[in-house]
Symmetry: C2
Subunit: 530 residues, 2 copies
């Protein structure tokens, strides 16, 4: 198992690997200062507790304390005992105002050098990001994410599932019920009459403000409350985008293959034809994308679903170049970015090129899918049309849950919760890996470094994994999944998430199950394969 420090910090996507071997304090202070000056850390934004950040980066706590002190000396942050360190106000140019004033359908307003520069900092180190399909569980393998929406698995399958390993469901037993109730009480005490009325179709300003800070801190986004549209989950973000892209003349959208079946079906329902683009060990094949006609693409760059690959740095640059040159829209589904176990954080694509990227995230993986609470940060040229589409869809999202979430972010309880769940999910992943190693020593396991599921492929399985849906035509891995179901374990065959034939495999969601049940599931799967 890797050491804790190697995973890096969500905070500003800091990674120990990017730091010079000497001068750690100066490096850290520089990084935070830059984030304050360029607006990613706004006035009042909390810096992480020194002990936590030290743990994330694998450095001594003294390094963090000294860096914070240096910033305090410069008047940039204020640290009072008991309240933590917070950013003080600085006068700086409004962030994102250039993009925000754009009119019409403007995507190509960032030059290539600008976008690649933005991408260079803060950056993940090169070599560790390029994953393959190695056979070594527990290695620094990259990835693992979860489906943007659940697949409608046939009821007959669900009924037979004693252990449901469908991907995309976090550990819900850990839902922070007490914190939620506390926050709700405060919200109900303080909510104004206007808070309960017909509100801004973009969502409550309280949540949009907190989110802007949260996404800046944890995902590198430079965004303001006015840019964010609160939606009922990533599924609605995709539905609205499909609608608006259709109105802007898009008839198709490129999607990853394999990729999320749910997302693909959702887009198709709303009239955008999903065009498959292959995913290899570096992520989406951008040159294949560029050869096609689609001028929009949906992808999961931080950890591809379901393979768990991270989009390689060169591919990221190529993708942004393509989008800028082709006047295209990149839809970034980033919604389980919070669960990294043993790799450095990858900043969101949106952080590099807000004018090209529609960024979507949700609380489905951090709190619960039943929350149906997410956000969409579109390029400026699509913003007004998306707000109109949201208004025409439901006038806006429910107010109370938004206000509660805002409070959980502001109080630090959301972050606390994520740290807790991450720890538990990591130990579940470890348990499943251990069990697979024991019962299926020859299995090829991918996508273990992050997310809520892993992928086991069977390159030697007779017959290719032919695309099919639940209940539809299917290749060999669907037969395998059906055989596994007969033992009471529900897994997704990889072919459910494919449009074109490829290596067979099964997707195992582990986050919702105890180590004991995961061990039992692995035992049963092995019995079928034996």
């Amino acid at each position: 198992m890797p050491s804790a420090g190697k995973q890096g910090a969500d905070f500003l996507q800091l990674s120990r690997e990017d730091a010079p071997s000497r001068g750690l304090t100066g490096w850290l202070a520089d990084a935070i200062r830059t984030a304050i000056m360029d607006g990613r850390l706004g006035t009042g934004a909390p810096l992480p507790a020194t002990r936590m950040l030290a743990g994330d980066l694998g450095v001594s706590r003294g390094v963090i304390v000294e860096a914070y002190q240096r910033l305090a000396d410069e008047g940039l942050v204020s640290g009072r005992p008991g309240t933590g360190t917070r950013v003080l106000g600085v006068s700086r140019p409004a962030v994102g105002s250039k993009e925000a004033t754009g009119v019409g359908v403007v995507f190509g307003n960032l030059t290539i050098s600008e976008s690649s520069e933005a991408f260079e900092y803060p950056q993940v180190s090169g070599s560790r990001e390029v994953p393959g399909s190695r056979e070594v569980p527990g290695s620094l393998e990259i990835s693992g994410s979860a489906a943007p929406g659940p697949l409608l698995v046939p009821a007959s399958w669900r009924e037979r599932a004693e252990i449901d390993l469908s991907p995309g469901v976090p550990d819900l037993s850990g839902f922070p019920r007490a914190a939620w109730l506390r926050a709700e009480r405060l919200v109900l005490e303080r909510a104004s009459v206007a808070d309960l009325g017909y509100g801004d179709p973009r969502g409550t300003v309280a949540l949009r403000t907190e989110l802007a800070g949260w996404l800046a801190r944890t995902r590198g986004l430079r965004t303001g409350p006015g840019d964010i549209i609160i939606v009922t989950g990533v599924a609605q973000a995709l539905a609205l985008l499909a609608r608006v892209l259709g109105r802007h003349g898009h008839g198709e959208i490129a999607v990853e293959d394999p990729g999320s079946r749910g997302a693909r079906d959702d887009l198709a329902y709303w009239g955008l034809r999903p065009v498959p683009v292959p995913v290899d060990e570096h992520g989406l094949d951008v040159s294949e994308l560029a050869r096609g006609d689609a001028r929009a693409v949906l992808l999961t760059p931080a950890h591809q679903f379901p393979t768990g690959v991270v989009l390689a740095p060169q591919r990221r640059r190529d993708l942004l170049d393509w989008a800028a040159g082709a006047d295209a829209v990149i839809v970034e589904d980033d919604y389980d970015a919070e669960y990294r176990y043993d790799r450095a954080p990858v900043p969101a694509l949106h952080a590099s090129a807000p004018g090209l990227v529609a960024y979507a995230g949700s609380t489905s993986k951090t709190l619960a899918p039943g929350m149906r609470l997410g956000w969409l940060i579109p390029p400026p040229g699509l913003h007004a049309d998306l707000v109109e589409a949201k208004y025409a869809s439901d006038l806006g999202s429910p107010a109370l849950p938004q206000l509660v979430l805002a409070r959980l972010i502001a109080s630090g309880e959301l972050e606390q919760h994520i740290r807790l769940v991450r720890k538990r999910q990591r130990s579940r992943r470890d348990a499943l890996l251990l069990a697979l190693r024991e019962h299926l020593p020859a299995a090829r396991v991918q996508g273990i470094a992050a997310g809520l599921h892993l992928l086991v492929t069977f390159p030697g399985l007779s017959g290719p994994g032919t695309p099919g849906g639940p209940g539809g035509s299917a290749g060999s891995d669907a037969d395998l999944a059906e055989a596994i179901l007969r033992t009471g374990v529900l897994v997704h065959p990889l072919s459910w998430h494919r449009q074109r034939p490829g290596v067979p495999g099964i997707v195992l969601g582990y986050a919702a199950h105890t180590p004991g049940r995961l061990h039992e599931a692995a035992r049963r799967i092995a019995r079928v394969l034996a």
Copy 2:
């Protein structure tokens, strides 16, 4: 002011007027027995407290007690002290199963005689239902409802409004914060992991079950949990219907003129052309509807927005005949049916012909618009497609608020809240009527018997009320509204809600304001008109 008893009861839409002069107890017992036998009152459904029902019907409490006792003797209900009277289980044929097994687009499966019979009982008395535009505030004038969605009033208007009389907003200061928090605590204590996960796209079974009983008791619907789709407000119900009707070949939908501007815009956004059909003192002109090509119609039969007219019994029958004969869909927006002040309840159209009617309602007027929580009960032939559309829109509505609402219905707290708010809103209506009588003695006031707003028309105002939107072209009442705005009072000109020219008027929402502010608003409006 009318006597309390004349308003009748929400419960089974009972009206004293329908009872024989002798034999009240037998009449009441019969009505309840019928509702138990035909499934409107399911096992466990609570009967109203005897004191309340006596008050609603204007009869002595002894009548109610005796009727309940008779039913208890028959083994149909059980009354235990302190817990109230509840319906016991009876074996009866499954309700609605005939419709529920329908396949494809089936609307015309009810014969005319069936539907008119269903409408005859329980019925509102004839003559009181046919309203005109009388000048007598305080008469048994019919109506008053609220817009299905808020109009996007220009920000410049809102900023200048000291007193915002936009219709459609209830008294939000009365939001039951304590009850909501209590229910939320219980929900969080007891919610299962499955409750928090990706759920049924139709909504949680707990809420759908409670709603089926609630709508049967208060609106006469015969529906089951499986028929109901939980949506984020009536706006989403309309968006989903527009989508699905479009797929079923509908290019247009008839709407009331005048009628809700918000609903009309919503339908148009999703591709259904809204065709105006005039509204007169009997409601929608069904013969004009029948002359047109539209095979779908949206209307507010219980109290038309914004005129406040109730659809007359003959028109109801004609409408159902037309729909059955033309294979058409009736969309019934019933979402502020809870606020009647001095008229008998009108059962929902859906109660007469579930195979022809898509019924939509919400908590926007009973709790708060910010809840974004509503329901759609479509004809069986559209059900599967609407569930698919809901799933593709957002996978389903947020779970926690659904579970909380289910609990508030089950505990009786929702009903308690509605009674409280109704009382307060009635006194606000009375205050506004009094002020209008004082300051504008010649005003024609309509739609006072129910709802959250009233309508003042000016037949003599020079120039017709020409259709226009906020900020668009507008006739004389828009000029008037603009002049009123200069005194700090925001009202909707009637022409905002018109598609074709008609009598000018202004719509005054009173529910969100104290009597003092309403008096002040009337004073300022009178000053402009003087």
